[in-house]
């Protein structure tokens, strides 16, 4: 019986092939745009996620954080060298720790080679950075502890800097100036591409001590501290210990919140996920409306189709079709129409997503998650049921005598 209902429905859809496809256009467009949008956003989210994954789940990032009410009063909290020194001395269970210092003004074009200037961000850090960010030089070497200790003026460049400054392909041994100080290029970092619009190759790394020197040893320079715990189980202990220590050191009264943030890379990942998920949901919601419009189109054509086939329905009834049979046949027809639209839209949307991702330089490849496929097909089928029920009921309730007399 079910097979017969399906067969009858497919036959009817096929009999009006062109009209069927035109009818499903709304669904096609709806599903295609949903899939295209979701695939691009998900692709982005995946690539961001995998890059953050490289930070490792046992990594912690400590940053200064100013609560909004204090920021209004003009206070800005900083994480300084003394905080770093304290953590180094007093916290156990840390395997790698590095400060990251952004040399102020470095993005203003303070880096030069001959007549070329670079807007690269200059980071002061130490040898542990390579472990923490899982990033190694493709040419030359990174900062050694010796460089840091002796405040050696050496620099490791990102590939964009090499291009911008028109340095030789192997720039090792060249001298560049950062804030009017000469730095010797000793290495080039491997390429990383863009992360949320930020070119990760437009960076320069210098020893932390040299970076501090560039600022004239201000005590209150804001730094970021990155560290890795030895054992993942100790993560919470280390974290609490650091929090207690910093609160005490920074004289935060009991009733005040932290003026710094300790984040694990998992948390960073989570917050980024949250952003992409919100974007997906909002965009998905907007295009879902077009599916609704598509459904109304289906209903419209189905109503026409029922009228057109009144006689056929009458014959079926006279020959013994029950109301259920007629109802299910038309419902199946609507669902099939919507699913055809869904499948075409799926293919089209994936193509569109891949095209968009491919055309934007540095954009990660589009990803279509399974849930999006299931959701859009499921949604199409539901649209078919919801908007098919009215025409199907109309067909099922036709009086056989009237229907047979219909010309």
């Amino acid at each position: 019986m079910w097979f017969e209902i399906l067969r009858a429905a497919i036959l009817a859809v096929r009999a009006n092939a062109l009209r069927s496809v035109l009818t499903t256009l709304g669904i096609i467009v709806g599903v295609a745009s949903t899939i295209a949008v979701v695939s691009v956003v998900q692709g982005l989210s995946q690539s961001v996620g995998s890059q953050f994954q490289s930070l490792g789940s046992n990594g912690l990032t400590i940053e200064a954080f100013t609560p909004i009410n204090e920021r209004i009063q003009g206070k800005v909290s900083r994480l300084t060298h003394s905080d770093l020194a304290l953590i180094r001395q007093r916290v156990d269970g840390i395997s790698d720790i590095t400060p990251i210092l952004v040399v102020p003004g470095s993005t203003g074009g303070g880096t030069r080679y001959r007549s070329q200037t670079s807007m690269a961000m200059v980071f002061g850090t130490n040898k542990n950075y390579v472990n923490l960010d899982d990033r190694t030089p493709s040419l030359g070497r990174f900062i050694l502890s010796q460089d840091d200790k002796t405040r050696r003026k050496v620099a490791i460049l990102g590939s964009t800097v090499v291009t911008d400054l028109e340095l030789p392909e192997d720039p090792r041994g060249s001298f560049i100036t950062i804030a009017n100080e000469w730095f010797k290029v000793i290495g080039v970092m491997e390429e990383r591409g863009e992360l949320m619009g930020f070119d990760q190759d437009n960076v320069i790394f210098v020893p932390y001590s040299a970076g501090r020197a560039l600022q004239g040893h201000q005590t209150y320079t804001d730094i970021q501290i990155r560290l890795r715990v030895t054992h993942i189980e100790k993560m919470d202990t280390v974290r609490r210990k650091i929090e207690r220590l910093l609160r005490k050191h920074r004289d935060i009264p009991e009733d005040k919140v932290n003026d710094f943030k300790i984040q694990s890379s998992d948390q960073l990942l989570e917050s980024i996920d949250k952003v992409t998920n919100t974007v997906t949901a909002v965009l998905g919601g907007i295009v879902a409306i077009s599916l609704l419009v598509g459904g109304i189109g289906i209903m419209n054509i189905m109503l026409v189709s029922v009228t057109e086939r009144t006689r056929e329905i009458g014959i079926n009834k006279a020959l013994g079709a029950t109301r259920n049979f007629i109802l299910l046949q038309f419902l199946a027809e609507a669902v099939i129409l919507c699913l055809i639209g869904g499948f075409i839209g799926l293919g089209l949307g994936y193509g569109l997503g891949a095209l968009v991702a491919g055309m934007l330089p540095g954009f990660p490849p589009a990803q279509v998650p399974l849930w999006a496929v299931i959701l859009s097909l499921g949604f199409s089928a539901s649209v078919g049921i919801v908007f098919g029920i009215v025409p199907a009921a109309k067909a099922a309730n036709l009086d056989p005598i009237d229907a047979l007399r219909y010309e």
Partner: protein, 233 residues
Amino acid sequence: MNASVLSLRNIIKSYALGDETLTVIHNLSLDVYRNDFVALTGPSGSGKSTLMNILGCLDRPTSGQYFLAGKDVSQLSQDELSTVRNQRIGFIFQSFNLLPRHTALDNVAHPLIFRGENLATRREVATQALIEVGLGDRLDHFPNQLSGGQKQRVAVARALVGKPDIILADEPTGNLDSKTTDTMMSLFETLHERGHTLVIVTHESDIAERCKRRITLRDGIVEFDTRESDHVV
């Protein structure tokens, strides 16, 4: 006398027309027996279409009882009537009413779908029925590839395929020329000889002449009910 296949008892059918009630069938009682070959005639407005719809279980009487093969079907629901139509009645219409997208074979096999028969059985039985009406070589033709007479023979095969208790034909020759009409009537006569029960609604007297029993309606009541045997020519 054969057993009665259908019997109507005090059938009344009336329609509400605004505030008025229009009664089309007035207290009609009638029996059709096994292997009857009935012509139902009467001028337009006599109520023969209405009676035909009631006989065909397409419509329910306002009051009265209708026994089909011993079962009272006068108060059944729409879906129950569908099942009765499917199992007990074979329809033949003036305008053939074949499904245009189905082949002759699929058209004939169609009613069996509602009985839950599988495809192989349906095709087999339908092929037999088409051979019976002389269309064994037209199985895969679509209705628009068939002549009027052939279409009506497909319809006859479709009516026969379910082994109904009664075959109801509503003006079966109304759309046919005189030669095809003759062939069609011969086919009906053959069916009668094979033991089928037929009721043919017609307004053509020469069609009615060829039937063994003639019932004439006028204003919703039976005016004449004559049999060949007691009819003096």
